[in-house]
Symmetry: C2
Subunit: 330 residues, 2 copies
């Protein structure tokens, strides 16, 4: 028995070495499964993520625009907010978002915790206020119990609410894609077209920005390096954060993980298909005119980046009671 | 071993007999767990229930207003529809709805299948059209595969879509409430106040309408038997279906199962608390003026009707592709 364990350990180390070897020279690394250190915190965060009572109307939750049934997005060009407000920007996926250098397209929030507070109080999104959101959650004794389990005391404040949501979001990673299997040594995981697509993706320089485990998210880049991007969108990108003219149209490079699920594409959502997106990116960012065969191969490769989607048990939310502030939908 | 099995069987039969005995003379019967005969159909129905692509905007799914995290309702007075349309009526819970004699507050749909087609094509709800909804689902090969598994062929039409949704909804029952445990013989399942509440509920005649396993849903009744109900709502009730003046303000008696979760109450959602609802129902329907102690006891009893909520694994929806009709949110 001991010998067998020892043998298995040696075998594991050997396989790990092969696995590290296989992806060591690639610009993309496999995604690792999430490590949960505080399951009570994650569970609380999941409830809050699904709870529309964080919005003024009682109708919009984090999951409304970062729908975990649909790649962590809403799959519409720009999001619908309170009172059917037409949002200015395409909702980025929440999947693997913990790997980004900052949050939002313009990176104006330094992490998921800071991000989570934004939409709750944005009049065009959930349209609540932090004080109101706290009042709602605090009024519910079951929630206070969950806060006590997660934080050690039942105090509810916006810092704790966003901390819990961020803790849940950190678990929303998608390992196990076919591309990751290939990286880890399973050479049959990709077919010829997909491999050709990956070679094109590398040789043309897409990996200059789309690299690392999230295949993006690690840097800012101007959208329109060689040619300007034409759009009706008034979004300025990083300039809105730094005030610098040189940051106009500079955005956080989006992750390409699960890109098959997170359509439509770009900050204005104007690219409806992956083929369109690849063609435009090639032209604007790399001054390349990809032909149809090249585009099809790159798209085939991109579709191998779809990972295992988070296994979510729908939370049952504790009910409001007579002292809970009521939603104001109209 | 055989003796033990025999003994266990005798014991089970004995307990069953006690159980039947315990609830035989009560006007309310326990809820039975759902029997799933076609799991592929139920799984498909779950996907469709959660799929916002059945709406014009791509934003509203069945679960938006019949939220399974919140007792199968939206917990707002009247529902939000396409373009933030203010719905005319309070969304009834989907939980245990299969036990109703008909669907909608006015019973205009004979069953869940017929009901499911309504909101999809209602301009003030999901605002799609049946042909468009079919086109969307049909364009997705993975969905066609699920239809093949559920129905034996991959044809997609509105009849099959609504059949599958109804099959899923039929599984949304909530057995195991404390009241059901009491009915089944566990006399410690209710405390003194809850028992007193149940006695008041029976002795005052509430069980005249709120009876059976769903504690409602089995008949139509005029809202305002002794005194008229005052409301700004223009909803006519059964009159809208039958055309008869005598059916004005006649509604399907709502289920009281999970009533703690399905606030606010009445077809116009104007009763915010269970205490208000009990007081008004006592006065209007029974000509009783319940005192505070009586109301509190009845409310305590009603809260024992909260059953085990459905255990739902969030479905991962198959992505749209280049041929899928695009949502039109704005």
């Amino acid at each position: 028995m001991k010998m067998r364990t020892l043998f298995a350990s040696i075998l594991s180390i050997g396989m790990l070495a092969i696995s590290i070897n296989a992806s060591a020279n690639e610009p993309i690394q496999p995604i690792k499964a999430a490590k949960v250190t505080n399951p009570e915190m994650v569970e609380l965060g999941k409830m809050l993520f699904f709870d529309p009572r964080l919005s003024k109307s009682g109708f919009i939750s984090c999951n409304s625009c970062h729908n975990l049934s649909m790649g962590g997005t809403d799959n519409i060009k720009t999001s619908i907010g309170h009172n059917w407000h037409q949002g200015p920007i395409n909702a980025p996926t929440v999947l693997n978002s913990s790997m980004s250098l900052a949050q939002f397209w313009d990176g104006r929030a330094k992490d998921l915790k800071e991000q989570a507070g934004g939409p709750i109080a944005n009049p065009g999104e959930m349209a609540s206020e932090h004080t109101l959101a706290v009042e709602v959650i605090q009024s519910i004794p079951q929630y206070r119990g969950y806060f006590a389990k997660a934080f050690g005391s039942d105090k509810v404040d916006i810092d704790r609410i966003t901390t819990a949501i961020a803790a849940f979001e950190e678990t929303l990673v998608t390992p196990g894609s076919r591309f990751d299997k290939w990286l880890e040594g399973d050479k049959k995981a990709l077919n010829q077209q997909e491999l050709e697509g990956y070679q094109l993706f590398k040789s043309n320089g897409c990996t200059g920005c789309h690299n690392g485990p999230a295949v993006g998210g690690a840097l800012y880049q101007k959208f329109g390096v060689f040619h300007p991007y034409e759009t009706k969108s008034k979004i300025e990108g990083r300039k809105a954060v730094t005030g610098k003219d040189t940051d106009l149209n500079v955005f956080k490079v989006p992750t390409l993980r699960n890109i098959e699920l997170t359509y439509p594409y770009f900050h204005d959502g104007e690219a409806e298909t992956l083929e369109d997106a690849v063609k435009i990116m090639g032209k604007l960012q790399l001054d390349r005119e990809f032909n149809k065969k090249e585009i099809d191969s790159i798209v085939a490769f991109l579709k191998t980046l779809t990972g295992e989607q988070p296994d979510i048990k729908l939370p049952i939310l504790p009910p409001s009671n007579n002292s809970t502030p009521k939603p104001v939908p109209f």
